[in-house]
Amino acid sequence: MSTSPSILDSLVIAPVALAPVVLSEDLALVNTSISLHTPAGRKLQFASPFFVRGDVHNKADATWDVLCEILRKLGIPLFARLGEVDKVPAASVPTRIAVRTQGQPLVKSELQAADAFELSNCDAFGTNWGWPLEIEGNRDLKSFVQVLRQASGGEVPLGLSLPLGATIADIRACVESTVDFLTLRFSPACMSAGSSQTASLAALGVLNARKQCIQLGRADLPLLLDAPVTEATQAIKLLALGATAVNVCAMVDAALPSVVAIASESKLAESLLGSFSPVVKPVRELPQVERCLQQVVTSLRAALHYAGLMDIQQLDSNCLRSLSLSVAELTGIAPLGSR
């Protein structure tokens, strides 16, 4: 079965001009850190423009503590509830973004203990999207965000989430609500994850949202892209298109040891041994996951260097070239060789 290429397949990172060659260790000098700001002046910095969502918690299971430790070490934030990290040793808890899903009470401890807070416009399963009932469509969105900011003491960066492919009006409502970041989420209801359509949807969603931010005078509003990105190159192109950080769960998932096999063994053991609990061997390290995440960061540094940049803040759509005229027309990215 043939699959049509995605928009991202038709885009390449292009060098501005050849720079003097650097040794591989000098790539560490390339700055990949990003930050979220609050109006009160608080700055939350991430070492890398990537993040992981707590959905990976179920799959990580016995390896959860170790995964959290790796994320902390690499400076990659985690979207998770307090309950998902409360058993993780304090020294291993990464920067945590708490989430309030649709139709749930706000939790004061979450708001106060989290490093950042996302008001999600979807349910806990990520499928049912809509404005919360308490904000009457989106009429009171700005007031609600401002009141929540007051209740949190103004120190916690607040964000909103929208589905990828949200309308211009919905994106504008979120941008105008004075939030500190916006999350664009892939919804499993719209198409199968990992398809070329997903990559195209992610590319167009980011481009569209960034365009609205620029038009509304908030060009620097952080856009967190939560889509199943499976390759480091895709993530880098999405960052160049306007995303501030990209979810790398799909890559982490692939590198995690198979818990499905452990689970089936456990069930078998349970049925055979009755009340005896199965012994699951604890995992003390996840070399594949750590290597995978380090590779993503290294790929980003290499791509930035290739494009002649020393700071991720300089990465934008000018660093991309289009291999196809139709994609160039659709995205506004200049065709390769036009420079």
Binding site: G103, P105, K108, L133, E134, Q146, V147, Q150, A151, G153
Partner: protein, 224 residues
């Protein structure tokens, strides 16, 4: 001579809602637990995120989203209140001498909210453990999506009472315009009567608990 604590007064004509909120969140309980807020004129987001055990009297009308995430503080509002009062409240007491807007007590997890007047639509939205008492009429979809707690309605209710409700109890004294699917009137047990009497007394509402009817969501077979 009595040792009554000194009364602190904050005026919304003098300070903004943000400034008053900041003062109340960092209030020194030792100085005074009694605070009066005057000149309230429907300002949005008054006294949100409080944790101190303060007794706050408010003169005037209170705006939308006020008392959100309140913990421990008691409010006595001499006026009407806007939409979404006491959102996600954890504990404490809100007594409104006037009427409440839509979404009174939305997602409140604990404490008691009482309105002596009526309340708008979707009163007790997603109620998750708190008790909400409304002496007069309420609008449509009261108790929408509530999961636990008690909603006490002293007069008539609008359409679709208890829509999407999965837990908790709604007590109604007046007429019910229409019930949502899956909601049934159930016999008042002794525990209901006792609980209701305490709630009515707490809100200062004079009514006999035997005049009320209890409504709950029907549990499907196998549900706990």
């Amino acid at each position: 001579m009595t040792d009554e604590p000194p009364l602190a007064t904050l005026s919304l004509a003098q300070f903004s809602v943000t400034e008053i909120g900041q003062r109340l969140r960092t209030w020194d309980i030792g100085s005074s637990q009694q605070v009066t807020i005057v000149d309230a004129a429907k300002q949005t987001g008054l006294a949100v995120g409080l944790s101190a055990a303060l007794n706050i009297a408010i003169q005037g009308d209170v705006g939308d989203f006020s008392f959100m995430l309140n913990e421990n503080a008691d409010f006595d509002v001499h006026g009407d209140v806007g939409r979404c009062i006491g959102h996600s409240m954890v504990s404490g007491y809100v007594l409104v001498h006037g009427s409440a807007g839509d979404l009174f007590g939305a997602y409140a997890c604990g404490g008691v909210l009482a309105a002596i007047g009526g309340a708008g639509n979707r009163c007790g939205l997603g109620l998750a453990g708190a008790d909400v008492i409304v002496r007069s009429d309420v609008g449509d979809e009261a108790g929408l999506g509530m999961t636990s707690g008690a909603l006490v309605l002293g007069k008539s209710t609008g359409d679709q009472l208890g829509l999407g409700m999965t837990g908790g109890t709604i007590y109604v004294r007046g007429a019910v315009k229409s019930l949502a699917d899956g909601i049934r009137e159930q016999r008042m047990k002794d525990s209901d009567t006792m609980r209701l009497s305490l709630l009515l007394a707490r809100a200062g509402v004079r009514a006999a608990s035997k005049e009320f009817r209890a409504y709950r969501a029907i549990k499907l077979r196998g549900e706990k």
